[in-house]
Point group: C3
Chain length 350, copies 3
């Protein structure tokens, strides 16, 4: 499974310092790399790791070249992290090439479905009426595609993904196991103490180059559609409510949630388990910290946060109890300030 250093640099560029025949056994984090490993150091503040790592080769930026050369072989690249990302892709292609297209005979494929050239369909997949799979799409085992769903070119649906009726995915998307795209949004009208279902008549439309994590749910729209634009990256166990729109290249970490009809701009980052309440708008370039709850529209780009700090339990108990008195404390503080001011006014030496 090893590859010579020269082959890597031929494929990915950068400046090689060291023998082209040097064999790379593994890619590894710099902190735990061993002999035979290739690792990267992206920033000057990690420069001390250059001296201590056992990696055989390092990817470094120009500013760290001298330091890296002093210890051995390296690849110099303007953006070592990006170089490393591309290297992982190349490495995977070498070791785990895409399988030959194959339609598993156990799959249930409706006669009206259209399968483009080079499409793969795994065991027990269910492909409904009028489904359209563009060329090179890969449908894993146990995937269920509802009637009229469309999957773009080279999109990969890992095992056990569910795509609802008429939902559309673009090109080069990746969807991980257990994701549910196009279940009903949560819509009910209250009536006499009960709930009357509002049928969810819209769909989900997903752009190109979108990644969707395991067990993530994206609900179909009530009337219009739920829309995920190009290049969006969603981690695992995320909930996207009906009629949400997520702008291009926005990324959300695990367990994030966006309630119905919220609009998230492009190039936003939503931290793990952050929540956005319904009907809000987030501008382009908003960064929401993990665990924070967005309760109002954020119309300016920036970094927003809100969660309770952790503490030892005894301290938390005292502070949480005081918190319930906070507004009252504010009034008491004002009173004592006024008393002080009054005293000072009446008496220059109170």
């Amino acid at each position: 499974m090893s590859r010579p250093l020269g082959e890597i640099v031929d494929a990915l560029g950068g400046t090689r310092h060291g023998s082209p025949d040097l064999l790379i056994e593994r890619l590894a984090p710099v902190a735990t790399a061993e002999q035979g490993d290739l690792a990267f150091v992206a920033q000057a503040r990690y420069a001390s790791q250059i001296e201590t790592t056992a990696a055989s080769v390092l990817i470094v930026p120009p500013a760290l070249q001298a330091q890296a050369l002093a210890r051995g072989a390296c690849i110099v690249s303007d953006d070592p992290y990006l170089y490393f990302a591309r290297l992982t892709q190349w490495w995977r292609r070498q070791h785990d090439p895409a399988p030959t297209p194959f339609i598993d005979p156990s799959a249930s494929i409706h006669p009206s479905a259209h399968l483009g050239e080079g499409v793969s369909v795994g065991p027990f997949a269910v492909i409904g009426a009028d489904v359209h799979l563009d060329r090179g799409a890969r449908v894993g085992a146990h995937v269920v595609l509802g009637a009229g769903a469309r999957v773009g070119q080279d999109t990969v649906l890992h095992p056990r993904v569910t795509i609802g009726e008429r939902c559309v995915l673009g090109e080069r998307c990746t969807v991980h196991p257990g994701a549910v795209i196009g279940a009903d949004g949560f819509g009910f009208a209250p009536h006499a103490g009960e709930w009357v279902k509002i049928e969810q008549l819209g769909t989900v439309r997903i752009g190109n180059d979108v990644d969707i994590g395991a067990n993530t749910c994206i609900d179909r729209g009530a009337l219009g559609d739920t829309v995920i634009e190009d290049g969006v990256k969603l981690d695992n166990l995320i909930q996207i409510g009906h009629n949400v729109r997520v702008g291009k290249h926005t990324a959300m970490a695990g367990c994030a949630a966006v309630a119905g009809s919220a609009t998230i701009g492009a190039h936003c980052t939503i931290g793990g388990r952050a929540s956005v309440l319904g009907h809000l708008t987030l501008a382009d370039g908003v960064n929401v910290s993990a665990l924070s709850v967005v309760t109002r529209s954020l119309l300016k780009p920036g970094h927003y946060t809100g969660f309770f700090p952790i503490d030892d339990n005894a301290s938390w108990e005292k502070n949480a109890a005081s918190l319930k008195q906070l507004n009252r404390m504010r009034e008491r503080l004002k009173a004592v300030e006024q008393a002080m001011e009054h005293a000072l006014k009446n008496n220059s030496t109170p």
Copy 2:
């Protein structure tokens, strides 16, 4: 796919103002409705939208009739939102009628299972021993029903739902993809630094007209059962622990969680990602805001909330740091109040 206005009013009632032949192309939100669309305005505070919408027909309450008539066709109804909900159901039935019952030959059905009249079973569904499907039940592709499970009349299990052994669902329920009903509750006894499994011997019992969202989990009881009463609506990615009881017509939004042995009353609303700790009791009619953590029983109906407000990150950092001093601040405030009181007592002009 269009329908004449007259046909809608014949089916659903209300007072029609406008030609019965006027064709409705789509149902749409009032804000984005176009010509050919039918939209609703439920409340006087949205009355300004009557003037600006391009919808061809509006559903309005009597109080807005004059204003709506001034711009064109309308349906007058005492409760436009309810009217609209019923219209979505009618619209779906027109455009997407329930499929003809069909038992897919690929399904794995135990010979001892009972299938009522008009039952549907999708591809690769697995129906265990002694399962009972009442008439009209619809079992989607890849659904797994454990031994002895029972599904009531006209209940719909969407693809890839798992129902554990002996669990029971009532009539007219809807369960969305990926939901897991009747996995083991989380029960372990500590012993010598390890965990000893407490087998979960109970089941899950679900009433009539219950909706369960995608990838939601409802655990089986440890000894008694976990119970979800009639008309409960659960959104996606919700966790219901073992031996929980949820009362009639309570609704929970996405990512809510209820820990083991909690009892939730009827007609409650639990907001998105709200949490209820174990063994607590919530009275009927309790409303818990999104993201709030219920840490004590709430024995009176009312609206309860608790989460950290979001802010720009710099402000949050300062306030969160101060929060850890809050109890100390309370003591300092008390001290300065006492000093002030003492000073004022000793000196009429302090």
Copy 3:
């Protein structure tokens, strides 16, 4: 389904007081137990339940023996809760014995897969190339095992579990429906406003006696592996990021989440919906309360907490608004303290 008391004590030990022929119909919680039921009272503080329960037999510690005897039959055990846990296991074995091993003919099993003695494979399971199932492993319906995955002796995969390529599970593990082990971790390098995928080349390695709840996700490592050590118990809907390590016998309640590269010690408890941010270290024996967010490494064992207390909504609104002024309040408090100090210094009777 009943069992005589004597048979239970013969199997599980403890001291029996009462006829060996007394029939036990059910195991039940002491609070709701009825005649024919066996219940336990583990601690003196629940002793009052001994008088009020209708259970036919109680499991009690030596300290409660006299009180229990005064009302009827009992089993005396040093650790009634542990006794009860083992009793639930025995009870299940009596009533629900493990099925005879069976390879369902509908399963899709790659010819290169190795199936040990006594392995079961359910309907429509998909077993990839070079998968290794040790003796007695039970693979449920619709389970998907990626190429090269390994499952240890007597491990049970419930229906609809997904195990990614090359992931490894130890012996006697239990994995509940919908769990996804070995989906890609969330890794992307930013480049020119877009995200470049970092292929996740590692795997997941899971020890012996690990339980994994429904719809829980454990991501594969980016370079190294994600590691779950022996005896770990994970509840439902948990997210474990790439390259996380969880130490032996640590338990996490429902909806907990651990971000990438965090290291959790042994014998920790992580409460429901608690979160651990990335790259942090938790020492052995750390207990994190439900809902708390671990934002820094916790290097000492102890009990840590942090979440916003719930309140009636009106109080919350006032306190949450004041919270945004908290740092300013702290400054104001300091100012009034200094003014007071100054006044007292200048004037003995201010």
